[in-house]
Subunit: 140 residues, 2 copies
Amino acid sequence: MMKNDVVQLLEEKHIKPSLHRIKILEYLMVHRNHPNVDMIYKAIGKEIPTLSKTTIYNTLKIFQESGIVQFLTVEENEVRFDATMQHHAHFRCVTCGAVHDIELSSKVFEMESVDGHRITGSQIYFFGHCRDCSQLRVIS
Amino acid sequence: MMKNDVVQLLEEKHIKPSLHRIKILEYLMVHRNHPNVDMIYKAIGKEIPTLSKTTIYNTLKIFQESGIVQFLTVEENEVRFDATMQHHAHFRCVTCGAVHDIELSSKVFEMESVDGHRITGSQIYFFGHCRDCSQLRVIS
DNA sequence: ATCATTGCAAACACTTTGCATACGC
DNA sequence: GCGTATGCAAAGTGTTTGCAATGAT
């Protein structure tokens, strides 16, 4: 993921590519770790000392409204962010807290309505023990 | 749903059936509206004026640990509760905020592992405009 | 000069915690 | 009386808001 790709994506969506916006989107595109606001803040704050969380919140909201990122409510107490918009599920490890993308060919994603309700979006969340945490458990 | 059913369920799970616990579980069983804490508080508070939200939080946590209710993170800013433990999906109307149960025969619910991660639970969430809100939109 | 972006601090909302009180057996 | 259940108030935490300061053209 080159910086130019990020800039181009922002321009396509008619979002002025300011330094902050580029860095935030770049972080999401490169890491793909479904961060919360604090993770982004800690990571980018090193490069941009004056960065505020308010800007991160504002920026992510703009990104969501433009369809560049989606909000994940896979945690009870905080929102996480995902710059991958293609249909996929998410797995959250209840031990280490990591969130992984899950490629899943499910008809759920293709449903346009259910019980008379018009569907505009969907999320599939899995919970459990991730590969690494399961192995640790076996060893110990 | 009779009061006796609620008491019996609590006793099965070795939870002392206090008045508060009975009322809270009864509310969940009868209404099945996936309430948040405030909805429960406002509803039951009429009958039990001294009820505190702390008790509701405590009680729901006990219920969850005993497998009587599940927590839904279908909202960005609050937790909702569901006393139906059978596999099903949820639909949240982004217009009116209502959350509906969706009966869904999906293989997603039967998966025990994915990408090497051990699955212990899953949630399927749909978002969109519910039947009522869609109709209103058509009329206006 | 003007308009959008950013940042600080306060406000907000939901939830948790500590500890004192009340209740049930 | 003793142990649990409950409740109040305060603290904690993630997020939003108001408004001033900064930055870009």
